[in-house]
């Protein structure tokens, strides 16, 4: 059960009509290390992980949807008024041919999202290490996106998202410490 709050987690302002940037931002929408992959990865792994860290996966997985919504807002603002010609000039001709100005879950190169991007191994350590790696890869992607735009307002929202990846990474590392602990486990002899 979720409760939806009809506002963004952090304000999204886009100042520059740089349609090409939408093509790159989509990496964090439908890419391998994007927010959709993150949300679905954590919210699925949580069923088969020790009780103590289920809540963490629920919280972070939920927050990833809030991030997904922010990225969607950025892409939408940049593309909603673009003509077919402008989309084509921005490198989004192939996107337009298939989707008009709609958003779609694909990466910056147009490759559609696939569940093969994520894993649920059922082994708590393996799953949490994947999650840590995913957070660091998303942090790196945000860095490159920040490098690609000179729109300071867009940079501002991207910096917020990057910082959240750093916090999440630490929380997953703490989860690893929790599952490493041997206390309170029932031992049957």
């Amino acid at each position: 059960m979720w409760i939806y709050e009809k506002k963004l987690q952090y304000p999204v302002r886009v100042n520059k009509c740089d349609i090409t940037m939408a093509k790159y931002l989509i990496e964090q929408y439908g890419g391998a290390d994007g927010e959709l992959a993150a949300a679905l990865r954590y919210l699925n792994q949580r069923y088969s992980i020790p009780d103590k860290v289920i809540g963490l996966l629920t919280d972070i997985g939920t927050e990833e949807f809030a991030h997904l919504e922010m990225i969607a807002t950025m892409v939408y603002k940049l593309t909603k008024d673009a003509s077919a010609q402008q989309m084509e000039e921005a490198g989004l001709g192939a996107h337009y041919a298939n989707h008009d100005n709609a958003l779609f879950y694909n990466n910056a190169a147009g490759v559609p999202w696939t569940a093969a991007y994520i894993q649920a191994k059922g082994d708590p350590l393996a799953d949490l290490y994947e999650d840590i790696a995913a957070e660091e890869k998303a942090r790196a992607t945000y860095q490159w996106l920040i490098d690609m735009t000179d729109d300071v307002d867009l940079q501002d929202s991207l910096k917020f998202l990057r910082q959240r990846e750093i916090v999440h990474s630490l929380r997953f590392r703490e989860a690893v410490e929790i599952i490493k602990e041997d206390r309170e486990t029932k031992k049957i002899f």
Binding site: M148, D150, K159, R164
Partner: protein, 84 residues
């Protein structure tokens, strides 16, 4: 802010071949965020004021990692030319 960012930056000097087709970058950098030095966050760490925390994306100065766009940042190459 600048000092904090540079304290989280690491660098190395990659191999440069004598026949590189493009102007080589002599100095490459990458980021190691502060989360890498915390195993389990200790209790009672200092906090940012709430308004600032909401803006920065973390309540904890110990976890804060500033990142400025490298767009337009130029680096000196070995022959004194500037490259992106």
């Amino acid at each position: 802010m600048k000092e904090l960012q540079s304290s989280q930056e690491r660098s190395y000097t990659p191999f440069i071949g004598p026949f590189d087709p493009c102007v080589p970058v002599t100095h490459k950098t990458y980021v190691i965020p502060p989360n890498q030095y915390i195993v389990f966050q200790p209790l009672n760490l200092p906090q940012f004021p709430l308004q600032e925390a909401l803006k920065l994306g973390t309540l904890w100065p110990a976890l804060y990692s500033p990142y400025e766009s490298r767009r337009g940042r130029r680096e000196q190459t070995k022959d004194g030319n500037e490259s992106l």
